[in-house]
C-alpha cells in the first residue's frame, strides 16, 4: 500500500471516529439525563430513594411507602422512558424530513401530522365521536388522533399517483391539508363547552404526562420500527440529496424512496403524537445542532439526531416537571427553549448546507 492510500485510510478512519464519538456522547447525555430524571418532580423524593424504590420493585419487595412507589414506578419511570423514545423518534424524523426535502424548516410534522392529530383529539373531546364507536375517554382520543394524523400523508400518497413526489409537492400538499384541518379544529373549538375547550388546548400543547406502562410498548414499537427503516435508508438519503437524476443513475429510485420515507415518518410521528400531543422544536433543532458537529452525512446525522433528540427531550421534561407551581407540559418548555436555540443555530449555520 502506498503512503498516499494508507494516509487517506488513516484520515478517513479518524474522520469516522469523530462522528462516532459525538454520537456516543449524545447517547451518554441521554442516558445520564434518564438516570437523573427519576428524581425530578414536585413530590419530594431524593435521588437514592427513588433508585431504592426501583430496585426494590425489581426484586419483588413490597413498597414501604405506597405513594412514593406509585410516583416513582407508575409516573416518573414510564415518563422518562417515553421521553427517550419520543425524543429519539422526533429527532430522527426531523433529520430524515430535512434531508429528504432539502429544507431546513422541515420537521416531522411537515406531513401534516400535527394538524391531523389535533383535529382527531378535538373530535373525540368536543364531539365525543370516536372512529371506533365503543371507545371513550383517553382511548378514544388516542385512536382518533392516530388515524386523523395519517390522513394528510394518505392524501399526499394519493396525489403522488398524479404528480411526482418532489420535495416541493410534498411540502405544498402538507400545507394545504394543514390549513383545512386547522380551520375545522377552530370551528369545533368555537362551539365547544369551556371544559372541552381547555382539554383540547392542553392536549395539543404536548405533554409526556400521559405516559404509562400500558402505552409505552406501543410507542417504543413505532419508534424502533421507524428508526430501523430510516437508518437503513440513510445512505439513500445522501444520494437523494444530490438530485433525482444523480440518484437514479446510482441505482436509487428517488420517487419511491421519498414516498417510503414519507409514509414511515408519518406513521412514526402519528404513533408518537397520539399519546403526547404535538411536542414541537425537538424534531426541528436536534438535526441542526448535530449538523454543526457532524456535517450532513445522513449515515451519522440520522442516528445522532435520534440520540440528541432523546437527550433534549428528557432534559426539557426534567425542567417541565419542576417549573411553575404545578409543573408545565413539556411542549411549553421545548417552545420556550427551542425558539432562542433555533435563532442561535441560524447564526452559526453554514448556509452552504442548503444550497
Amino acid at each position: 500500500m502506498e503512503v498516499g492510500l494508507s494516509s487517506l485510510k488513516e484520515d478517513y478512519r479518524i474522520y469516522i471516529l469523530r462522528k462516532t464519538v459525538f454520537m456516543i456522547a449524545c447517547i451518554s447525555v441521554a442516558l445520564l439525563a434518564l438516570g437523573l430524571s427519576v428524581s425530578f418532580g414536585k413530590y419530594e423524593i431524593g435521588f437514592f430513594e427513588s433508585y431504592g424504590i426501583i430496585i426494590d420493585h425489581l426484586r419483588g419487595i413490597e413498597p414501604a411507602d405506597e405513594m412514593k412507589h406509585y410516583i416513582v414506578w407508575e409516573l416518573r419511570l414510564p415518563r422518562a422512558i417515553m421521553a427517550i423514545a419520543v425524543g429519539a423518534g422526533l429527532g430522527i424524523g426531523g433529520a430524515a424530513m430535512q434531508s429528504m426535502l432539502r429544507n431546513p424548516l422541515a420537521d416531522p410534522y411537515t406531513t401534516g401530522v400535527a394538524s391531523g392529530a389535533s383535529l382527531g383529539a378535538a373530535v373525540a373531546i368536543i364531539l365525543g365521536i370516536c372512529l371506533i364507536p365503543s371507545l371513550t375517554g383517553q382511548y378514544a382520543i388516542v385512536v382518533n388522533a392516530f388515524f386523523f394524523s395519517l390522513i394528510p400523508a394518505t392524501i399526499i400518497v394519493l396525489i403522488s399517483k398524479y404528480k411526482k413526489t418532489t420535495p416541493t409537492m410534498i411540502i405544498l400538499a402538507g400545507i394545504g391539508v394543514m390549513y383545512i384541518f386547522s380551520a375545522t379544529t377552530s370551528l369545533l373549538m368555537l362551539i365547544a363547552e369551556p371544559d372541552s375547550l381547555a382539554e383540547v388546548y392542553i392536549w395539543t400543547v404536548g405533554s409526556l404526562g400521559r405516559a404509562s406502562w400500558e402505552n409505552i410498548p406501543l410507542v417504543i414499537t413505532f419508534v424502533i420500527i421507524g428508526i430501523i427503516i430510516i437508518q437503513t435508508n440513510s445512505r439513500n438519503l445522501n444520494i437523494l440529496a444530490m438530485g433525482d437524476k444523480n440518484a437514479i443513475s446510482l441505482g436509487v429510485n428517488a420517487l419511491r424512496t421519498r414516498l417510503t420515507l414519507l409514509v414511515t415518518i408519518a406513521f412514526l410521528t402519528a404513533g408518537i403524537v397520539s399519546f403526547t400531543g404535538t411536542i414541537g422544536f425537538v424534531g426541528l433543532i436536534a438535526p441542526h445542532i448535530v449538523r454543526i458537529f457532524l456535517g450532513s452525512d445522513n449515515r451519522y446525522l440520522v442516528p445522532a439526531s435520534a440520540a440528541l433528540g432523546a437527550a433534549l427531550l428528557i432534559v426539557a421534561d426534567c425542567i417541565a416537571k419542576e417549573a411553575g407551581a404545578t409543573g408545565l407540559p413539556v411542549g411549553v418548555i421545548t417552545a420556550i427553549i427551542g425558539g432562542p436555540i433555533f435563532l442561535m443555530i441560524l447564526l452559526k449555520m453554514r448556509s452552504k448546507a442548503w444550497n
Binding site: Y12, Y15, N238, G243, I248, S249, G251, N253
Partner: protein, 280 residues
C-alpha cells in the same frame, strides 16, 4: 457490450424532442455527441439510464431491455456524470466519490472501496483534496470530483454530459485523454456530450451529430465534421483543417474593429498605452 436503440421517440407532454432514433453501438469506443442547444443530446442520454422513459421505442443494454433492469442492476453497468455540479452536497470529497460505489457495495464501505476511490482521485490528480469539503472547491475541482464519482462506479458504459465545461484547456485534454485511455484499458463505451467541437474531433472514435431531434450524421470525426454539415446543423460558416487525420474547425465571421485601451502595470514596470483591438 452493446447499446441498441430502436425507434426511440421522446416528447415532454406534447412537445416532441426526439424522433425515431435507431442506433447500434457495439464494442468499446469513445463516442462524442454533438449538436446545437436543445437538439436533444441530454434527453437521448437520459433515455439510456432510465432517468427518462421513452414515449416510443426500445432501448437495450447488452441485449436486455432497459426496462427489465432494476435501477441498481443498471447502475452497475451504466455510469452517469451530470452536466451541472450545483447539486453538490457538503460532504467530503471522499464521501462524495464513495457514493459512486453505491451500486456495488454493501452497508459499510469496505477498504476495497476506499482503494478504488483513492486510485481514481490520483488519476484525476485531486488526491490531495480527499478530506476537503466538496462545497469549498473551485468549479474545476468540483467537476473532477463528480467525474471521479462516475468513474468509481466502474461501469461498462459511461455517459457524460459536458464533463469538461469548467476546466481549462490543460485539464480538458487531461480528462479527455484519461477517458479515452479507459476505453482502451477497461474496454468501456464512453458516450460524451460536448460543445467543444475540437476536443470532440481530437479524441472521439465516433461522432454522432444531432439535428432537429434526430441523428444527422454518424461516423469518424473527419467524415462528420465537415464545413457543409456545420453549416446545415449549426448555421455557422467555418473552415476545416485536417491535422494528424483529425479535423479542426476555424470559425468564420466578419471582423469588427473597436478602438479601446487598457492600462496595465506589469511586475515592476509600467507599459504605456497599449492599444488592444477586440478580435472577432
Amino acid at each position: 457490450m452493446l447499446i441498441n436503440i430502436e425507434g426511440l421517440e421522446f416528447a415532454y407532454k406534447s412537445t416532441p424532442v426526439l424522433n425515431n432514433i435507431t442506433l447500434n453501438v457495439d464494442g468499446p469506443q469513445f463516442i462524442s455527441i454533438i449538436g446545437p442547444n436543445g437538439v436533444g443530446k441530454s434527453t437521448l442520454i437520459h433515455c439510456l439510464n432510465k432517468i427518462l422513459s421513452p414515449t416510443k421505442g426500445v432501448v437495450s443494454i447488452d441485449g436486455k431491455n432497459v426496462n427489465d433492469y432494476t435501477l441498481k442492476e443498471l447502475a452497475k453497468k451504466v455510469g452517469y456524470v451530470p452536466y451541472t455540479s450545483t447539486d453538490i452536497f457538503p460532504l467530503t470529497v471522499v464521501d462524495t466519490v464513495l457514493m459512486g460505489r453505491h451500486p456495488h457495495s454493501r452497508w459499510k464501505s469496505i477498504d476495497n472501496d476506499l482503494e478504488i476511490v483513492y486510485d481514481t482521485l490520483k488519476l484525476m490528480k485531486i488526491e490531495h483534496l480527499a478530506m476537503r469539503s466538496s462545497d469549498e472547491l473551485s468549479a474545476g475541482q468540483k467537476q473532477k470530483v463528480i467525474l471521479s464519482r462516475g468513474l468509481v462506479q466502474q461501469p461498462r458504459i459511461l455517459l457524460l454530459d459536458e464533463p469538461t465545461s469548467n476546466l481549462d484547456i490543460k485539464h480538458q485534454m487531461e480528462v479527455t485523454r484519461i477517458l479515452k485511455g479507459l476505453c482502451k484499458e477497461k474496454g468501456i463505451i464512453v458516450v460524451m456530450i460536448s460543445h467543444d467541437l475540437n476536443i470532440a474531433a481530437k479524441y472521439a472514435d465516433q461522432i454522432i451529430m444531432m439535428h432537429e431531434g434526430g441523428i444527422f450524421a454518424v461516423g469518424s470525426p473527419a467524415d462528420v465534421i465537415t464545413e457543409k454539415n456545420i453549416k446545415v446543423v449549426y448555421e455557422v460558416e467555418s473552415k476545416i483543417i485536417i491535422d494528424e487525420g483529425r479535423p479542426h474547425i476555424i470559425l468564420r465571421d466578419e471582423p469588427v474593429e473597436i478602438d479601446g485601451s487598457i492600462d496595465v502595470e506589469f511586475k515592476g514596470r509600467t507599459e504605456s498605452r497599449t492599444s488592444i483591438t477586440t478580435p472577432v
